[in-house]
């Protein structure tokens, strides 16, 4: 008699339920992830008349995306790999991609949550609201942007095995992204075109550009389209590196 294997859809549903439960039990960490965007929304309220609501909202969302993709995802993968959780799953009759697919699906849900939270907080604290089309496009660009940081997180756990080093590296990159992205564009405009361009076309800059452009669909321009392409490019490159280098054990 032919050996039967479970349906992939059944396996994915089971993994998703477990990963969502895990995420829910880590809700304190999730809340902390959401606090930073709110701090930016509140502290940058004074910049809205000068730079516009979409500028502040897009920065807040981008920082939330970086925190969840870069730190949340990479650290949880590094920790579970070190504990042998993946090895235990892999000896079951399930394709390896379902293990990561479920994790990424949960992170995409987190991205949706962050965008929603920032939209609500932006309306509540800063009185910023978008058109229905703006909300829809912003969710899509947030997902596209979130994928960049998930892929960067994947590249980190692909290149580094120790969970402690993954933690330190992701924090360092988080700090660099935030400092260069948030303050670079504001403060270094006078420091020269090359430096300014580097910041604008960095993974922080392109994501911020597409998220901001998504909030005002009528103003979507060539620069936003180019930023979207570059964002996809970053995702492909980092995901390729992260998948190619990834090892299921930390030993």
């Amino acid at each position: 008699m032919e050996t039967s294997i479970p349906k992939t859809s059944t396996i994915l549903k089971t993994l998703l339920r477990a990963d969502l439960t895990t995420q829910w039990r880590n809700r304190r960490a999730v809340i902390l992830t959401l606090i930073v965007p709110v701090i930016i929304l509140v502290s940058w309220k004074g910049l809205i008349p000068k730079l516009g609501g979409p500028f502040v909202l897009s920065n807040s969302i981008t920082i939330g995306l970086i925190a969840t993709g870069l730190m949340g995802y990479s650290n949880s993968i590094a920790r579970d790999r070190d504990k042998g959780i993946f090895q235990r799953l892999r000896v079951g009759p399930l394709p390896a991609w379902t293990i990561m697919g479920s994790r990424i699906a949960v992170q995409l849900g987190m991205i949706f949550l962050i965008a929603t939270f920032v939209f609500l907080a932006g309306y509540e604290f800063d009185g910023v609201s978008l058109t229905p089309g703006g909300y829809v496009l912003s969710y899509l660009t947030s997902l596209a942007g979130g994928l960049v940081y998930l892929s960067v997180g994947q590249a980190i756990v692909g290149g580094i095995r120790s969970p402690e080093t993954v933690n330190a590296t992701s924090r360092l990159i988080y700090f660099v992204f935030i400092m260069s992205g948030m303050f670079g564009e504001l403060l270094l405009k006078e420091a020269g075109k090359v430096l300014h361009d580097i910041i604008v076309w960095s993974p922080y800059g392109t994501v911020k550009t597409i998220v901001a452009a998504g909030m005002e669909p009528a103003k979507w321009n060539n620069e936003a389209s180019m930023a979207l392409l570059v964002t996809f490019g970053y995702t492909i490159v980092f995901a390729f590196m992260g998948i190619k280098w990834f090892k299921w054990t930390s030993k």
Binding site: K7, T10, N26, G84, V91, P93, L94
Partner: protein, 257 residues
């Protein structure tokens, strides 16, 4: 007609870079038997088991699990296996009952909450259902791991050093559970450092050293065969020849990494 062997490993080779961890290893596990894989540290036991489990890709040889080629049809082969790894860890945030639910789902076994609680009741852990795996004692963790390894009624159960770190009571209880698995018609492949364990529960054993199988037989037949070897007599400590004496004589007295 069903083949008598549930697992057939033939000429298996596993390498880590230039280091050959397993070299041309061949053995088979019959239906309804407990087969022990014995060897010093670094002998190749876990590498052999990892290749059977599909965690390592062998450089050569074949592994057939109930007629499924473990390399060509890994999912089919793994569906026949129940596995308890050497250092088992489950999602730290999940409760014990949720871990059971997860693995039942992965193996495609639909189970209600009552079914899951019934399983925990059988291993006297019903009241621990809402505890996290890490909050259980070592013996309780082993019981949960074993019940997860057999949740889908597998034809072959692989246990990698399952009694390491257990007290005598927990070890004896685990042996009884392993024998109960065998008595239900399943085959068990177990790796162990404990000669007492091998003598007590294994129907047949293979001694593996430096990546090669150096002996396969029943524990008693192995003792009888080597009883009069000068090396065995030389290492014997209490006059009576034990499996450990035979093992030391065959693999040497030097301590391995």
């Amino acid at each position: 007609m069903k083949e008598d062997n549930i697992l057939t490993v033939n000429d298996l080779s596993v390498s880590y870079g230039k280091f050959n961890a397993v070299q041309n290893v061949s053995f088979s596990v019959r239906r309804g038997e407990i087969f022990g894989l014995l060897g010093p540290n670094g002998a190749g036991k876990t590498s052999t088991l990892s290749a059977v489990e599909g965690l390592l890709k062998p450089q050569g040889g074949t592994i057939m699990v109930d007629g499924n080629d473990a390399v060509a049809k890994p999912l089919h082969a793994r569906a026949c296996l129940g596995v308890q790894l050497q250092s088992t860890s489950f999602q730290t945030e999940l409760y014990v009952i949720e871990v059971l639910q997860l693995y039942a789902g992965i193996y495609g076994v639909p189970m209600s909450k009552d079914d899951l609680l019934g399983i925990l009741r059988e291993i006297n852990l019903e009241d621990q259902a809402k505890k996290k795996f890490g909050e259980l004692s070592g013996g309780q963790q082993q019981r949960v791991s074993l019940v997860i390894a057999t949740i889908h009624n597998p034809k072959l159960v692989l246990l990698d050093e399952p009694t390491t770190g257990l007290d005598p009571q927990s070890r004896r209880q685990l042996w009884e559970r392993i024998e109960a698995i065998r008595d239900k018609g399943h085959a068990v492949l177990i790796t162990t450092h404990s000669m007492e364990e091998a003598e007590s529960v294994c129907d047949r054993i293979a001694i593996i050293d430096h990546g090669r199988v150096i002996a396969i037989d029943t524990p008693q037949a192995m003792i009888d065969k080597h009883r009069n070897d000068p090396e065995v007599i030389a290492v014997s400590r209490r006059g009576k020849i034990t499996l450990e004496d035979v093992f030391i004589a065959l693999t040497g007295k030097a301590i391995r990494g």
